[in-house]
């Protein structure tokens, strides 16, 4: 599958190889050539015929900004010749028939070889294929018949396979400077789609990544993105970035964008039920919600709650992260709301409904207190939680609301 994009394309090959890994577990980067080999025979049932797969690759690479040509054949060298012609050769027997008429200037021979072939009157590939090996060796040396035999599949053609890396880094130089954050979304989308293709290829997922915005003459602006759970979904990442970009202040116009993911994790795709209502899916949905909210409102904005073993109500709770397990002793007669700070009050304004409940605690940590709690009602009919404090300050305070 050759890549028609000169030097930049050559540089992108390892990244594209990782991206292609989602379509084939055997990807090969042939040295010095602007293209990739994919073994597709094994994934036929998954992706359909090679023509269909070829079209799909061309289209998806096109969306990522690459111009690709695809072709297929039983051997790598034959496929290399088939790609510029858009040929899809099914069997070994067809190789000779379909590639035979190919003019020799389409072949990748060096100029000296081309010239001598011309002189000898060879015009098409089939002219070469007709000659016996011995005669070819005499005229052109042993490399040419070797090559032809590999093309035809007579001689095996083992290749070093590409292995996707466990980290990802990609850089995109922008064609024009981008001044506002919203304008960055489009190039970011392209980077993220490529990145997620690579993730899918290696059956990987990402939980933390860094995006670095490069400026003309100003230090780079980094943006770190952390997720509640690993993902390989470009849409989810883009959604989070959109929120983050709204808050980002750019010191200068952006010249280039770099995406770095230092660690890739194994992706663990759960089964999806039709209505997304299993506890695991609920968990997943709530984590994604937490992420979206945190991206815009900050990490502190989203939390769970847990009890803390302490008799003093104000010390008996704290926020928890979603990874922590909550622990709590249930007390159903306590009010559902606590006031952040106990509010001094005049007890004569209230009717006492129940109490007292003595709470005496905290002598060990300097917040020693002794209180009697009462359930009271004010003249509006609101039921409140009040306490009479003996230590450290004497007086009556409101501490909760039976809302």
């Amino acid at each position: 599958m050759p890549e028609q994009d000169s030097a930049a394309g050559q540089q992108a090959l390892p990244r594209l190889a990782a991206w292609c890994y989602q379509y084939s577990s055997q990807v090969c980067i042939p040295g010095a050539r602007n293209g990739l080999f994919l073994e597709t025979g094994a994934s036929k049932r998954l992706f359909g015929s090679t023509e269909q797969l070829g079209k799909r690759l061309q289209q998806e690479l096109g969306q990522l900004g690459y111009h690709a040509l695809t072709g297929s054949a039983p051997t790598p060298e034959a496929a290399w010749l088939a790609a510029p012609e858009g040929l899809h050769i099914a069997t070994q027997a067809d190789v000779r028939r379909q590639l035979g008429p190919l003019p020799l200037d389409r072949m990748h021979f060096d100029t000296a070889q081309r010239a001598s072939m011309e002189r000898m009157g060879f015009r098409q590939l089939r002219d070469l294929l007709r000659l016996p090996r011995k005669s070819l060796t005499r005229r052109f040396g042993p490399a040419l018949p070797d090559y032809l035999e590999r093309t035809l599949g007579i001689r095996p053609d083992p290749r070093a396979m590409y292995h996707p890396p466990q980290a990802f880094s990609s850089r995109l130089e922008l064609q024009a400077e981008i001044h506002n954050c919203q304008g960055l979304l489009f190039p970011l989308k392209r980077l993220l789609e490529e990145f997620c293709g690579v993730l899918r290829g290696g059956d990987n997922a990402v939980q933390a990544l860094q995006i670095i915005f490069g400026h003309e003459d100003h230090p780079d602006t980094p943006l770190n993105l952390g997720l509640q759970s690993p993902t390989q979904d470009a849409g989810r990442l883009l959604g989070l970035l959109r929120e983050r970009l709204e808050r980002l202040r750019l010191p200068q116009a952006v010249r280039e964008i770099q995406l770095e993911a230092a660690t890739l994790l194994k992706f663990n795709a759960g089964q999806h039920s039709l209505f997304r209502d299993t506890p695991a899916e609920q968990q997943q949905d709530i984590r994604q919600l937490a992420e979206r909210l945190q991206a815009r409102l900050g990490n502190e904005a989203v939390s769970g709650l847990t009890g803390v073993e302490d008799h003093r109500p104000e010390y008996s709770w704290r926020p928890r992260t979603l990874d922590e397990r909550p622990e709590c002793t249930p007390l159903s007669h306590r009010p559902p709301w606590l006031l952040p700070n106990p509010k001094p009050c005049v007890i004569e304004h209230f009717e006492i409904l129940a109490g007292p409940e003595r709470i005496e605690s905290g002598w060990w940590d300097g917040h020693d207190c002794r209180r009697d709690y009462f359930i009271v009602r004010d003249h509006h009919g609101s039921t409140l939680w009040a306490f009479r404090e003996y230590k450290p300050r004497r007086g009556w305070y409101l501490h909760g609301i039976f809302a």
Partner: protein
């Protein structure tokens, strides 16, 4: 005529005055008297419910406890967007709300709160979202209503007394009021799928606190236990508290 029928069956926003709103999914409130008055006999799922309270402390939050307990015990989430005070974990747990399915979002209010609310309503399927918006326009309410529909969530908005005068796209609007002797009464201002009825008294919600005779008994019990603070909790719950028990089926 058939077009009208089609419209009626396809859009939950349209209903006939006398018809029970059958398309509406509901979750029992846990209060028999209230359930009896509500179309579908419970809180509407996938729709906004407004709880209008002149003052906090009338039991407006505890009114929801049976349904919220059921929600969390089903493995669905309860999301509180900008709760006005600190939720007391021991009390929530005491009424059967599982803390591992409770999420608190602090936005700082304003537009961010409404945005967070909409996000919460749109996320996942099932569960409940509770919010305390200060001011909210009709169009914003409408957006929340649509968001709630998309995820079949219970959506409760706690609103101040002056909200009574505003019109609202909410499926259910309740107004809570207090009476010193009879506890809290609930008026149905609007309910999609049936006609508003007379106020409902929900004495069982607050009888423990509202009934004077019970109060004196409770007082006597407590004074015996003033020293033992740890046990005081248990004796309290046995005598006074637990007005709304999550598992109680009436």
């Amino acid at each position: 005529m058939s077009t009208i029928n089609q419209l009626l069956s396809a859009t939950p926003q349209l209903w006939r005055g006398r018809q029970d709103n059958r398309g509406q999914q509901t979750l029992p409130t846990g209060h028999t008297r209230l359930d009896r008055q509500l179309p579908g006999h419970g809180w509407p799922q996938g729709a906004l419910t407004e709880l209008i309270t002149p003052k906090p402390g009338l039991g407006e939050f505890r009114l929801l406890f049976p349904a919220l307990a059921e929600t969390s015990q089903r493995g669905q989430w309860i999301i509180l967007v900008d709760p006005p005070w600190i939720p007391y974990p021991a009390a929530l747990q005491g009424h059967g709300l599982l803390l591992d399915h409770l999420l608190v979002v602090r936005t700082g209010g304003g537009k961010k709160a409404l945005w967070a609310c909409e996000q919460a309503l749109r996320s996942g399927r099932g569960g409940a979202v509770l919010a305390w918006p200060e001011h909210i326009s009709f169009s914003r309410l409408r957006r929340l209503q649509i968001a709630a529909e998309s995820s079949a969530k219970l959506a409760f908005l706690f609103r101040p007394a002056n909200a009574v005068k505003e019109s609202s796209p909410a499926a259910l609007r309740l107004q809570l009021g207090a009476d010193n002797r009879r506890g809290t009464h609930i008026s149905i201002l609007k309910c999609r799928g049936s006609r508003p009825t007379d106020p409902i008294w929900v004495p069982q919600l607050f009888s423990a606190y509202g009934n004077h005779r019970r109060h004196t008994q409770a007082h006597a019990t407590f004074t015996e236990h003033t020293i033992n603070t740890a046990l005081a909790g248990r004796s309290l719950s046995a005598t006074v508290a637990g007005p709304v028990h999550p598992r109680t089926k009436h």
